[in-house]
Symmetry: C2
Subunit: 121 residues, 2 copies
DNA sequence: AGCGTAGGTTCCATTTGTGAACGGAGAATT
DNA sequence: AATTCTCCGTTCACAAATGGAACCTACGCT
């Protein structure tokens, strides 16, 4: 499905080589769900099932995103169990460097998207 | 196409009311192209054609994004010409508050996505 | 043997994005 | 006055991404 390397490039996936560093950053984390996976990593989550239940994203989109993030060096994939072979995903230094951007988004969300409480009846 | 308000909600468009402020921010700017439109606004661009040629996004996706950003108060739409009635899109205060997040992305892109120059032959 | 769990993959329907053409309204050119 | 140009979109057919559910593998538990 995703990751078919034979297709012609659309403008979106030319962003990785754009002149603008913001565009290049978005080529890595500009897809749906990706930034939220990174947020979950900052919150200490590391396993497939954790991300899946936390985000409600479908499993194969999650699978695709994790694969891309590992390919691009934002996450590292390590076996946390050998006998049932199981992997966890952890932020690399490159991934941890998203902290300032994430904080920027957090501050904006807090200020401009207040949680709507049900009207007290 | 987009903006049909009768459809059932998927997880993605429930983000606007998520407990996490990062998720709420992403519900506004987490779509493809949206953050790049905001970047262009910071760079002084304000008109439909400017965004379109700068980004290479298709016209009706651009049209959709601008509409959403105005609806959500990130951009303001003002007539800049009366006789051919034409509009421009400018950042509101709410939109300008994306500056820190944008800077975070810029710094990450500069550090971790260096521009590949063609090998000097 | 049968069930549960973690981490995926596969299938199909729906939604979103792309690419190109079309439209309208006024401006500028011939 | 007719044609062309510019700006800001809309519409259409097709391709790609996403959603939702089922399935699979390998192991552990009872």
């Amino acid at each position: 499905m995703e990751r078919n390397n034979s297709s012609k490039a659309s403008r979106w996936d030319e962003l990785a080589t754009d002149w603008c560093p913001v565009a290049r950053a978005l080529s890595v984390i500009g897809d749906r769900w990706t930034m939220l996976i990174i947020r979950d990593c900052f919150l200490g989550k590391s396993r497939f099932e954790e991300f899946q239940t936390s985000l409600g994203v479908t499993r194969h989109v999650l699978s695709d995103r994790l694969k891309r993030l590992v390919e691009r060096g934002v996450l590292e994939r390590n076996a946390y169990s050998q006998r049932p072979l199981r992997y966890e995903y952890r932020l690399s230094d490159k991934g941890r460097d998203f902290a300032p951007a994430l904080v920027g988004l957090k501050d904006w969300g807090k200020k401009h998207m207040p949680v709507r409480k049900p009207a007290a009846v």
